[in-house]
């Protein structure tokens, strides 16, 4: 356990959310959210169902642009170049090339293990077979999956177990060296052992990548994250160092949620 003070001295802000609001058509799903996302740390988003945490997460890689009728207000500024990810001039494709996502249900493509991990490189136009092979191997190592699949690279990804498939999806996202990794409830479809292996993986990954994770499991947030944000009905109620928030939350709403009280 590290002392929070020394941690704070080393903090670098990777992204800054400034007064972010989001509309599904006329419905306002997010209300003026502002918070930092610190580099090479895990930030968790917690809150009851429907509080907007997944909606918030998907703003980071402009996933909402895929569907009509959505509107962003406010900014998400990515450092160090100070780009506002939500600006109209910024191409969502470019955003998604820098920010990766792992989904709730493992969604490997119906292709081979190798082709799954290589896909991100292919769409970028990477032509060299050597480069692709090296990056695929590196990504599978980083996702703690290499040993289990190194003899099965040309076999269908669907033959892997649920936990392995999710790690494959993580490797797939890692292959393109993302600056920020978004995890949308990554272990809610997995058994406890697979969950533990993914949490362990996150602990290793955060030395290289900034991680933002949505989870409905509070204990998971307490285990894996350095910072936690509690959301309710589209608003950010409290943001702070995880240990502090779980031992001594500042807001009564936060306390009520994490102790299981809705009085």
């Amino acid at each position: 356990m590290s002392a929070p003070e020394t941690m704070i001295n080393e903090l670098v802000t990777k992204a800054e959310v400034r007064d972010l609001s989001f509309y599904y058509g006329d419905f306002r799903a997010l209300h003026g959210i502002g918070m930092p996302v610190h580099e090479r740390r895990v930030t968790a988003l917690i809150g009851p169902s429907g509080c907007g945490k997944s909606t918030f997460l998907r703003c980071f890689n402009r996933m909402h642009d895929l569907y009509p009728g959505n509107r962003y207000e406010g900014q998400i500024v990515l450092h160090p170049e100070n780009t506002d990810l939500l600006a109209r001039e910024v191409d969502p494709i470019e955003v998604r090339m820098r920010i990766g996502m792992v989904f709730q249900k493992p969604n490997p493509f119906p292709k081979t293990v190798f082709e799954n991990v290589a896909y991100g490189l292919r769409v970028r136009g990477e032509g060299s077979r050597r480069v692709i092979e090296d990056k695929v191997e590196q990504a599978l190592h980083d996702a703690a999956l290499w040993e289990e699949v190194k003899d099965r690279l040309r076999q269908p990804a669907y033959n892997l177990s649920g936990g392995q498939q999710q790690r494959l999806c993580i490797a797939r996202a890692l292959a393109t060296d993302p600056e920020l990794l978004l995890f949308d409830e990554p272990t809610s479809a997995l058994d406890p052992i697979a969950t533990a292996s993914i949490e362990e993986l996150m602990h290793d990954l955060k030395q290289r990548v900034t991680i933002l994770i949505v989870t409905h499991n509070m204990q998971q947030a307490a285990r894996v994250s350095d910072f936690t944000a509690y959301m309710y009905l589209g608003q950010l109620i409290e943001f702070g160092v995880t240990d502090d928030l779980f031992i001594k939350p500042k807001m009564k709403q936060t306390e009520d949620y994490i102790t299981g009280r809705f009085g």
Partner: protein
């Protein structure tokens, strides 16, 4: 008390199962009877000569050479037009078109087109292809007509196949920075190809038996020659004259033979019918097998 209820409920279940089986039996038996009847009448006629001879006034010498060559060439043209047009339309409607009232209107119309009587297509083709465009009563016209006929089938099959792809696969592709075209090319097309292929083959199996539109555009009933070969020894090695040549197809040949009084011609017609049914069944079988092979990797 409940045991008696259970017994009476089960009785209804048995009754319904029996009725269903009866309905199935009637349908299957009817088809089997026709097929067996055709086989009995026609099988004796099936020999190599039958396949390699032209029609003739003498029943014993008559064959289906021009008919099955004509059918094959027409199917070729049909596929050439129907597949790219149909698949591209399906992809556009599902992946690119905005979801508004206009797209809905198009969707409804396409589904309706599948129900238009085939002779109407024949009339359309007559006016448009034969006279307006001056394509004549040719294989090209027949192919275009049948392509139009099966276009709705291909479009609907494409759309259904694309719709069955879970959204999460698309999102997975986009999340890695792919463009829409890359997603279509690397995911949508490959994963929907089993369904699309099935749709194409089923459409073709229908087209191969269409008679009314072919007659309307003027396929001749007595053709004793083959269209010019597409490849030749002398340059230019490829020729497209066959497209504009007169022709006949299997159903028309059958129709021609059945309208003659001699019993021998009836046998010929039965034999040709047997061949036609066999071709249709073979195409359907191919569709099923291809679908099984291509679907192996897909788990949704």
């Amino acid at each position: 008390m409940s045991r008696a209820e259970l017994v009476s409920r089960k009785r209804y279940e048995v009754l319904f199962a029996a009725l269903g089986l009866l309905a199935l039996a009637i349908a299957v038996l009817t088809f089997l009877t026709l097929f067996v009847d055709m086989a009995v009448k026609g099988l004796p006629r099936l020999d190599l000569d039958f396949f390699t001879s032209f029609p003739s006034r003498r029943a014993a010498n008559a064959g289906i050479l021009s008919a099955w060559v004509g059918s094959t060439l027409v199917m070729l043209v049909t596929a050439l037009f129907a597949v790219p047009l149909g698949v591209a339309s399906g992809i556009y409607l599902e992946e690119y078109a905005p979801k508004n009232w206009m797209t809905d209107l198009i969707e409804i119309n396409i589904t309706n087109l599948a129900g238009v009587p085939s002779i109407v297509y024949g009339l359309l083709a007559l006016g448009l292809f034969v006279y307006q465009f001056g394509l004549g009563q040719s294989i090209l016209t027949a192919g275009l007509t049948l392509a139009l006929l099966i276009l709705p089938v291909v479009i609907v099959a494409t759309r259904e196949a694309i719709r069955s792809i879970p959204q999460i696969i698309r999102e997975g592709s986009y999340a890695l920075g792919a463009t829409r075209w890359q997603t279509v090319r690397y995911h949508i097309l490959p994963y929907s190809s089993p369904g699309i292929l099935t749709g194409i083959i089923i459409g073709m199996a229908r087209a191969i038996g269409e008679t009314a539109p072919i007659i309307t555009i003027g396929a001749l009933t007595f053709i004793a020659f083959l269209p010019p070969a597409p490849v030749s020894a002398a340059p230019p090695f490829l020729s497209f004259e066959w497209l504009t040549s007169p022709f006949t197809v299997m159903p028309i040949q059958m129709f021609n033979w059945t309208s003659r009084p001699e019993a021998a011609f009836q046998a010929n017609a039965a034999a040709a019918g047997f061949v036609l049914v066999f071709m249709t069944l073979a195409m359907n079988g191919l569709a099923i097998w291809l679908r099984y092979r291509l679907r192996r990797n897909i788990r949704w």
